[in-house]
């Protein structure tokens, strides 16, 4: 967990990447890079955006902190509270529900001993339900970091969980790298 009083700082590689991203927009429009930079910032901050991290992003983009907060709180990908190492997002919208998404949520829940929205006591897994992931033809579907896992069954869930536990899965990695 990040110490709240510590000012975050990205390494040179990340700062170079952000400088490249800012160049994609016209001069003076560096705020356009906010959503891409927040993806990076979240990954660099154990999967969530702390107030300190958001302030740091504001300083990098030369915008007011409030401009970062109002955006970070609008979009569902950004977590404003700490999450586990591996965030499991289960789609629950109609097409996935038709193909048994509720069983998948329940199975993750019983295997991990948590409800959607919760993190395991050891901090390893967070379970979330999310809305349509645009993979309805291979429902039920989950997302973990940038990975999609499709056509899920309870057996596949067991396999994935065993694998993730064995490898100490971390879902938040800089998605650009």
């Amino acid at each position: 967990m990040q110490e709240n009083n510590k000012v975050p700082e990205f390494n040179k590689e990340t700062l170079d990447l952000i400088a490249q991203l800012i160049k994609r927009y016209p001069e003076g429009r560096q705020k356009s890079a906010l959503l891409p930079v927040l993806h990076i910032a979240q990954a660099e901050n154990q999967g969530w955006l702390s107030p300190g991290m958001m302030d740091y992003v504001a300083s990098l983009l030369q915008i007011e902190p409030i401009e970062v907060y109002e955006v970070a709180s609008f979009y569902s990908i950004y977590n404003l509270k700490p999450v586990g190492n591996c965030v499991i997002e289960v789609c629950q919208t109609g097409p996935c529900w038709l193909k048994g998404a509720e069983n998948i949520v329940a199975h993750f829940g019983s295997r991990l001993g948590i409800k959607p929205g919760e993190t395991t006591a050891d901090g390893k897994f967070t379970l979330k339900t999310v809305e349509c992931l645009a993979a309805c033809g291979t429902a039920p579907v989950i997302q973990v970091g940038t990975e999609y896992h499709e056509n899920l069954t309870t057996e596949k869930v067991d396999q994935l969980l065993d694998q993730w536990k064995a490898e100490n899965k971390i879902s938040h990695k800089n998605p650009y790298l």
């Binding site: 705020k31 569902s76 033809g137």
Partner: protein, 433 residues
């Protein structure tokens, strides 16, 4: 076999690589257009092709391009709407993942026609892995002289960039998308002014869906007449249909517009019929936002004509007995499906995705979800059913963007066609399924 315009070669291994795409005739349309057509001639070709926006609204693409403010001295922008988020829709993900150069080629064509020097592909943040595939393809296109300065020595220059969203269905609405691209919350803008006049950074902008853009190379290579010769009525060309739910073969199918719905559902070439030999109960034909139709009305119109996969035929009968082609997200439900529960998942979706800007949508989506939870949970009353209809009526048409309509139509149409099922929930005080 239907003409393949969008899915042509999609199964060729390595198609995402420039060389493979190029060897299969890729980028020939860019060469042809930039060297032999003026931007206005290219726009005319798109107009004559009759192609309509494939994101859902079905607005004629050439006409949309025609609205761009050419008097303005500001830069112009082309933005590809890759925020595919409409439940039941998963066609664009497939296209960009396996054939990114087709999208890039289309973006070059559109940009050339519109006089654009900087273009963006706005892709939903969940599809980051697809964005990386497209990003890599863009680098290849630069390296081979199809992007960047002085493309093919013609003096035309174009930069193309990908931009990830943050997870918000509303950003599929074009003005919300532009707000988001500017680094803001995805709150839709009041129109007019339309983006063609005041779009990205206040500049003239066209926003087109992935599938629309991806059809442009074929139109240039084969001509607008060949494109317009496919289809029926004002539904020209081919359309990607992403089929899901209780069918034997879920997947992405390219159909010639005008294909009978019955053939699409039951033919082995497409959905392959209903799973386990079950009975077809209902279809949501164009993504979760369009009215649901019971089996008899999706297969035949109220007048008894075979229903076709086209803008006109699916809309035949209006709200009462028709629906819409929408995004082509085709959700099939068999007789084991609880219509109320399915609707509840949609209501939850719209409540979650409402941007909160307009009161009727912000409050109404939440009320509709709560009442549906009550009915599904066995605590509903008969009055609740009429209350739902009433709320839907007051949300529809009273919001800045169409999300209010999109949230209302599924509710109103489900009660219109399946009222007895809602009543059964109330009578039994539980879900009968």
């Amino acid at each position: 076999m239907a003409t393949k315009i969008l899915l042509n070669n999609i199964e060729v291994p390595g198609l995402a690589n420039f060389q493979v795409y190029r060897e299969l005739g890729g980028y020939a349309a860019v060469e042809k257009a930039i060297k032999t057509l003026t931007p206005d001639e290219l726009t005319d070709e798109v107009k004559k092709s009759g192609i309509r926006g494939r994101g859902g609204a079905g607005f004629p693409t050439g006409m949309k391009w025609g609205f761009i403010d050419k008097q303005s001295e500001k830069p112009r922008y082309l933005v590809c709407n890759y925020d595919e988020s409409e439940p039941g829709t998963f066609k664009d993900r497939h296209l960009g993942q396996f054939n990114p150069h087709l999208l890039i080629e289309g973006m070059i064509l559109g940009s050339y026609a519109l006089g654009v020097k900087d273009a963006y592909i706005y892709i939903r943040g969940e599809l980051f892995y697809v964005m990386k595939i497209i990003d890599k393809a863009i680098q290849e296109a630069y390296a081979n002289g199809f992007l960047g300065d002085n493309i093919l020595g013609t003096g035309y220059s174009l930069n193309l960039y990908c931009h990830p969203g943050g997870g918000a269905y509303i950003c599929g609405e074009e003005t919300a998308l532009l707000e988001s691209l500017e680094g803001k919350r995805g709150n839709p803008r009041i129109k007019p002014p339309f983006p063609a006049i005041v779009g990205l950074y206040g500049c003239p902008t066209v926003v087109n869906n992935v599938e629309t853009i991806a059809a442009l190379p074929w139109i240039v290579n084969n001509g607008s007449e060949a494109y317009a010769a496919i289809g029926v009525g004002n539904s020209k060309g081919t359309k990607l249909i992403s089929a899901c739910g209780h069918i034997n073969k879920p997947g992405i199918y390219e159909i010639e517009l005008g294909l009978p719905v019955e053939e699409f559902i039951y033919s082995d070439e497409y959905c392959g019929g209903i799973r386990n030999g079950n009975k077809l109960k209902a279809v949501v034909a164009g993504g979760s936002s369009v009215p649901i139709l019971p089996a008899e009305l999706i297969l035949k119109t109220a007048a008894g004509e075979p229903r076709l996969m086209s803008y006109e035929s699916l809309a035949d009968g209006g709200f009462k007995t028709g629906t819409m082609l929408g995004s082509g997200g085709f959700i099939v439900m068999d007789h084991t499906t609880c219509i109320v529960k399915n609707l509840l998942t949609f209501a939850r979706f719209y409540r979650h995705e409402s941007c909160g800007q307009c009161s009727p949508c912000r409050e109404g989506t939440s009320w509709m979800e709560k009442i549906l939870m009550r009915i599904e949970g066995g605590q509903g009353t008969m009055k609740d059913i009429d209350l739902l209809v009433n709320i839907a009526k007051h949300v529809e048409g009273n919001t800045i963007c169409p999300l209010g309509d999109a949230a209302s139509w599924p509710v109103a149409s489900a009660i219109l066609h399946f009222r007895e099922e809602f009543e059964e929930h109330v009578k039994l005080q539980k879900c009968p399924f």
